[in-house]
């Protein structure tokens, strides 16, 4: 009984310690942020790595999410004889929820794991230690550009995802099922506010910060073994997904 209690206590303390370390890591990143912005070259490379390389998967998933929204939305709305509202339903659910959340989950799976594995491998092969010996700050040279690249790429990926999904829903709703295309766009236009778009982009930015931070933190602090790198990658995806969904609830409550 006491051992169980002690172990629970121990794992709880470990959890708190990890949170504290993450906060310290984030603060260190924030402190060297202005210095990192002076060197845009590595940031552009990371925007390429996290953003441009994720483009295909984001667009494919966006298309199919949009198509399934068109399908489900049409089926549901015809029951009330109001399939003209398909555009509204699709646009608002995409802008407020599905766009940022699905993009963040895909981002964690595609870009977050790549970041964590790369940094973890650098740690395992002593490249980070070598930098420290050469008096090069690895936080500044390696971690910060990767973090910033993810933060910049995320809102752009979210908006690309949403636009592709809107056309996916239009493909199914208008082309397959014959919802009037003027109604689809005009009902959408009359219902969507600029604040909906702002909500989507703010969520995208916050998720971008969270997912990138978790990925670089897990990779940077990975145990320098093959197993450690694997574990860091797994943890990146799991923690990113959970944090994204929790943050999503908080942000929605704040902005509703």
């Amino acid at each position: 009984m006491i051992t169980i209690l002690r172990e629970t206590m121990q794992s709880f303390l470990t959890f708190l310690e990890r949170v504290g370390l993450l906060v310290r890591f984030a603060l260190r990143l924030a402190a060297i942020l202005p210095l990192g912005l002076l060197r845009p070259r590595p940031i552009i490379e990371q925007v390429y790595n996290t953003g441009a390389m994720s483009l295909v998967i984001i667009m494919t998933c966006g298309l199919f999410i949009g198509m399934v929204l068109g399908l489900q939305g049409y089926d549901l709305l015809t029951r009330f004889g109001s399939e003209e509202y398909l555009g509204t339903a699709t646009a608002i659910s995409l802008l407020r929820e599905l766009g940022p959340v699905v993009t963040a989950l895909l981002f964690a799976g595609r870009a977050g794991t790549a970041l964590a594995a790369e940094l973890g491998l650098m740690r395992a092969t002593d490249q980070i230690a070598a930098m420290e010996i050469m008096a090069v700050d690895p936080m500044r040279r390696v971690v910060l550009p990767r973090f910033l690249g993810g933060v910049i790429a995320m809102p752009l990926l979210v908006s690309i995802f949403i636009v592709v999904a809107l056309f996916g829903a239009q493909l199914v709703g208008v082309e397959f099922f014959g919802v009037d295309s003027g109604s689809y766009w005009s009902q959408m236009r009359s219902a969507v506010e600029l604040s909906d778009i702002r909500e989507g982009l703010v969520k995208g930015l916050v998720f971008g910060v969270a997912c990138s931070l978790i990925a670089v933190y897990e990779g940077y602090n990975a145990m320098p073994t093959a197993e450690g790198v694997g574990r860091a990658t797994t943890r990146t995806v799991v923690i990113s997904a959970v944090v994204t969904l929790i943050l999503d609830y908080i942000l929605t409550a704040l902005m509703l």
Binding site: I44, E45, V47, Y48, G51, A52, L55, F80, G81, S82, E83, E84, Y85, A91, L95, A153, P155, L156, L157, S159, I160, I162, V163, L166, D180, G182, S183, W185, S186, Q187, M188, R189, S190, V192, E193, L194, I197, G200, L201
Partner: protein, 168 residues
């Protein structure tokens, strides 16, 4: 490792695509203007009440969409809403005594304009005004009319009055 040029080009492409998407969202799916194709002609109609008609709503004849609502303006002199419709050039031969009505698609659906053909041999020309324009049915007006009518005809009766149609 790919050359820096390739990285720059694809990064540029990605960023441009991202900003194009933001621009599309801001201009195309919120209330901003968009233009219709030019191979069409215009018809005007003056309504007392257009209900919830929106620009971009379909204009139909016998249920077939033949055009769209291009513009809605309020005429301060006539106290009427002037609706401009763009009718496709395929449907040139609409009799010039056809009337326009505002209908609702389904109970909750969006509103559209329905044209009912008249008997004239002369078709509408570009910029013509539809003479007979029937207003949108506003549900609240109908309900209040029904309530006031029943209160006037049967005062002091506690049970709800039967519908006017049933009395006839």
């Amino acid at each position: 490792m790919r050359s820096t040029r390739t990285i720059d080009i694809s990064t540029g492409l990605f960023v441009m695509l991202g900003f194009a998407s933001i621009l599309f969202m801001v201009t195309q799916i919120t209330n901003r203007g968009y233009s219709l194709k030019s191979d069409s002609y215009r018809l005007m109609a003056a309504f007392e009440n257009i209900g919830g008609l929106k620009t971009g709503a379909p204009v139909s004849m016998a249920g077939v969409t033949i055009g769209r609502v291009e513009d809605i303006q309020y005429d301060i002199n006539l106290y009427k809403a002037i609706v401009t419709m763009r009718i496709s050039d395929k449907y040139r031969a609409i009799p010039n005594d056809s009337d326009a009505s505002i209908y609702t698609a389904g109970l909750l659906g969006g509103q559209y304009i329905g044209l009912t053909p008249g008997g004239s041999d002369v078709p509408y020309k570009d910029g013509d005004q539809v003479i007979m324009a029937n207003d949108a049915i506003v549900l609240e007006n109908l309900i209040s009319k029904y309530l006031f009518n029943s209160a006037a005809t049967k005062p002091g009766e506690s049970t709800p009055a039967p519908a006017p149609a049933a009395q006839e």
